[in-house]
């Protein structure tokens, strides 16, 4: 038992590693604050194209979505980070994460928003247009709010997945929570920093999991 505590819940090592774990935690928050809007933007573009574009555009949007849902996000990230420089395009770790999340999580948000937009009756758009709103205004004020409300549980659940996914940025050496925990573990030969990182993720995300459960059971 003592050995277990020493290896996994070591107070001294936790104190030592705390500053860099905290930095990693803040980095993870910052990373999420950037990747979630990027994914939403990509998803909104795909969602709109796949519901209101001409037939060819809708087909292309669906193919694009399936393509980026089939490639694991880590593969995409490694390709952008380690593969592209061979072609003389070096986007850096941040660029790779931004582009990768835009493409990958955009495809998932796109699927969700497509379903949401499809669930709003056509008459809503027609009624909004007939009151004199432009197409863009009708979308922004009438159709999108209803679409988002209809798929809110899926949107929140997808956002949870995006925040969890930021942990793969550790593979391209961005100093987020998991990366910092690995560094601290390597320096101390002790698993406590990783346990601490897991606890931090859990504390951050458990409330979100609870909210999703409630939203899902309500519908």
């Amino acid at each position: 038992m003592d050995e277990f505590l020493f290896a996994f819940l070591n107070g001294e090592i936790l104190r030592e590693a705390w500053p860099i774990l905290w930095q990693g935690f803040l980095y993870t928050l910052a990373l999420s604050a950037i990747t979630v809007p990027l994914g939403l933007l990509g998803g909104l573009i795909l969602g709109l194209l796949s519901t209101s574009g001409p037939r060819a555009v809708r087909w292309a949007a669906a193919a694009w979505t399936d393509l980026f849902r089939a490639i694991p996000p880590l593969v995409l990230l490694v390709f952008l980070y380690a593969g592209l420089p061979f072609a003389g395009i070096d986007v850096g770790a941040w660029g790779a994460v931004a582009i990768g999340f835009f493409l990958n999580t955009g495809a998932y948000y796109g699927e969700v928003l497509r379903a949401g937009l499809g669930s709003v009756p056509r008459g809503q758009m027609e009624a909004a247009r007939s009151t004199g709103l432009s197409h863009g205004q009708a979308l922004a004020y009438v159709v999108l709010p209803q679409a988002v409300r209809n798929v809110l549980p899926d949107l929140v659940s997808n956002t949870l997945e995006v925040v969890k996914l930021t942990s793969i940025a550790s593979v391209v050496a961005l100093p987020e929570l998991l990366f910092q925990a690995r560094q601290a573990q390597n320096a101390t030969y002790n698993a406590t920093p990783i346990v601490a990182a897991a606890v931090a993720y859990f504390v951050l995300l458990w409330p979100v999991v609870r909210v999703i459960s409630r939203l899902e059971n309500k519908r």
Partner: protein
């Protein structure tokens, strides 16, 4: 070399492709094996937890809910790193393959339990009562009346979730498993050319596009008319 030539040389290099095709093919085999083991174990454990939850033993249910929440909240890569780098400190050493399998299985178990459970609670209470009143035991009613209806509701979300989690097999590359991505990265460093990564991406597309398409089809095929 012109721009296009250099692009083709880097990403679609026929010579590199020919020499590393066997390596990527082996990686593909390992990915398929890992994925199948995760799907079988994860879905079975999830169903087992959902059935246990039906018994309505309160402390047990709270425990199940906690375990499910835990593996829904933790990123799979964090679970994997914890198992692979943490367990040796407790005197248990696991291979990268086993650690990847176990972490993804736990995640799929958690998500599938939640989906099965949602399906079971969506079956009207009258179905239980009617089944029990015909003389079926609790488990007979569950197996022959409730679960068939619950599974029908559960299949579309279950398919999508299973596909998403199965793609996590690529995380194995982080702990040295030579699945597709791991094999492609090794091949890339041997050949100093990113063509193997292109091959890896193509291998994933070959593997998952049919599955994603199947998921779409299942979604429409099994949808209840609301």
């Amino acid at each position: 070399m012109g721009g296009l030539d250099s692009f083709l040389f880097s990403f679609f290099n026929a010579k590199v492709m020919a020499s590393y095709l066997p390596m990527i093919a082996q990686g593909l085999g390992l990915t398929v094996l890992l994925a199948l083991l995760v799907v079988v174990a994860g879905l079975a454990l999830g169903l087992a937890l959902a059935v246990l939850r039906c018994l309505g033993v309160r402390p047990l249910n709270l425990l199940i809910i906690f375990v499910v929440d835990l593996f829904r909240a933790l990123p799979p890569l964090v679970i994997l790193v914890l198992l692979f780098f943490g367990l040796p400190a407790a005197g248990i050493s696991v291979s990268g393959f086993a650690a990847t399998w176990l972490s993804l299985t736990l995640v799929l178990m958690a998500f599938s339990e939640e989906i099965y459970w949602a399906g079971i609670t969506a079956v009207p209470k009258g179905q239980w009562e009617a089944a029990r009143s015909t003389g079926l035991t609790f488990f007979q009613a569950l197996r022959m009346v409730v679960l068939p209806q619950a599974l029908r509701i559960a299949i579309p979300p279950l398919t999508n979730r299973t596909i998403a989690i199965t793609k996590g097999t690529a995380l194995g590359s982080v702990v040295g498993v030579s699945e597709i991505l791991g094999a492609a990265q090794s091949a890339m460093s041997f050949s100093a050319n990113p063509t193997p990564l292109t091959m890896g991406a193509i291998a994933y597309l070959v593997l998952f596009i049919p599955v994603v398409a199947l998921g779409r089809w299942i979604e429409t095929r099994f949808a209840w008319k609301r």
